[in-house]
């Protein structure tokens, strides 16, 4: 087994052993899914049509934005990266492995949702599974990129929560997970296009669920992939091994450049 495979393997197991990450990656999204399934089915009979993509996006956001960044910051603060550096673990692995394992955890949760949603809530299933998988990867990639970037630039756990909520809360309200974005006022529509969840929901609807997209779904996939690339690139550039060591290649404010693909999305699609 290669060093990267060892790293991936133990990081994945740690995600299950650690109570906080287990809760944020599995329990929280699944409890929310059950709650929303039972509650919203009573209020809105059409909610089942978008339940699967909405809850999968919620699971991705919970894992990548609420679960992952804090563990990255804690590892840096506790000197784990220093020890990794001394032992030759490259910074690329430190960034890529948590992102990949989190994506795998969300894939497991997504599978649980896909299997149970039609039985429990008579939820609509995708009509194009390949596109569904492709959009899942694009959303998870973009969201994991933002999660890693938050973990890299946040100076401490408190800042991590603040920065993560800057994306997570608007996603809950404006990304079309609970209500269609078509009912949003024009100004809010532009804001919602700054969120990966909006593009994810749009792409799932237009490319995999057989529902009319609000705007070009392939454009959304392109924005998500570009957003992920920008976020991971910036994470790699701004990465620091050590909380006490002030040497960093760029100012953390540069992280705002991760929004460039989403701004382009507002203008172009």
């Amino acid at each position: 087994m290669t060093a990267f495979a060892h790293h991936f393997s133990f990081e994945f197991r740690i995600g299950i052993r650690n109570r906080q990450t287990l809760f944020l990656m599995y329990m929280f999204p699944l409890i929310f899914y059950l709650f929303m399934g039972f509650l919203m089915a009573e209020i809105n009979p059409f909610f089942g049509e978008g339940l699967v993509p909405a809850m999968i996006i919620f699971a991705i956001l919970a894992a990548t934005l609420l679960g992952m960044p804090d563990s990255l910051v804690s590892a840096r603060e506790n000197g784990i990266y220093r020890s990794y550096k001394i032992n030759g673990v490259p910074s690329g692995s430190i960034i890529a492995v948590p992102a990949l394992t989190t994506m795998l955890h969300t894939a497991v949760v997504s599978l649980i949702i896909i299997v149970t949603a039609p039985v429990l809530f008579d939820a609509a299933m995708p009509n194009d599974w390949i596109n569904f998988a492709a959009v899942f990867v694009a959303v998870a990639f973009a969201s994991a990129g933002l999660g890693v970037l938050v973990g890299v630039i946040a100076p401490n756990s408190r800042s991590t929560v603040f920065l993560s909520q800057l994306v997570f809360l608007p996603s809950m309200l404006l990304a079309g997970l609970m209500l269609p974005i078509s009912i949003l006022p024009e100004a809010f529509l532009s804001i919602s296009k700054m969120l990966p969840a909006t593009h994810g929901m749009n792409a799932f609807n237009g490319l995999a669920m057989g529902v009319a997209a609000d705007f070009d779904p392939w454009g959304s996939v392109a924005v998500l992939l570009a957003g992920g690339l920008f976020s991971f690139g910036l994470s790699s550039y701004l990465f620091s091994w050590d909380s006490q060591n002030s040497t960093r290649r760029g100012h953390p404010i540069l992280a705002i450049l991760a929004l460039v693909p989403y701004l382009a999305g507002i203008l172009l699609i």
Partner: protein, 305 residues
Amino acid sequence: MTDPIIQVRDFRKTYGDFIAVNGISFAVDQGEIFGLLGPNGAGKTSTLESLEGLREPNGGELRISEVDPTREPRKLRNLIGVQLQTSGLPESITVNEAMEFFCAYHAVPANYELLDRLGLSEKRKTQYHQLSTGQQRRLALALAIAHEPSVLIMDEPTAGLDVATRVELHAIMREQQAKGTTIVLATHDMAEAEEMADRIAILLKGQIVATGTPLEITATGAGLTKVSVRTQESSLFNDGAEFPAVTSSSSKEAYRIFFTTDIGPTVAAIIEYAESQNDALIDLRVERPSLEDRFLEITTEGGAA
């Protein structure tokens, strides 16, 4: 004679306006245990972290086996093993996983025998946070030496450990030294430094203020030897009980304590005096100055300067 395995020349490290290390130089030979001593803030950690490639020097030159730690981190990683003071491991990682992970990045097979040797065979599936402090230190040492590095850097390796674990770790350090491993040991424990180190450098305010073997360092101080004597009739407490080469005296319980620059004449005169007073010796102890005494002398002088 071979070249030193570690070369530090005019090394300087600053943090903003604060000078942590101010142009120190030393060399460590292969197979040597080199102690780095100093009070908090003396520059020990900055020196060690720069040797480990964690910090970039602001001046001077550092080399380990001719490798520049800052510019050649890939070459450095298999040359050195580091036992950090803090954990450096995720809380939920098991002992086996930690061994497999670090060995994989050093491209060597996992050394499970080392875990057994260090008394961790029963704990191989235990998570890091469930280990005792002693077990965590032993695991840190196992991970530091699993890839058989030429240089082992240890930062306070026995701080907070019980006596038995401390003795065990010292035995392992001796084993590593016997295999030819060079050890750089930063410690606050003077007894440990005196027992383990072949040579010592004492750092104070970013500069080396003393260097040499523990014996050489203790010999260069005021060199006062402590003579504690107890007699049956306590005649040494009499007025007029004065002896050659004694610079000061005190008493503790039934003992009279003399500090002397020349032990032979002092002890001979004490015995002669006791006999002249029809007194008999019950106990006589001679203690040469310890490294701790000398360290305190140096750091007090330096601190006052």
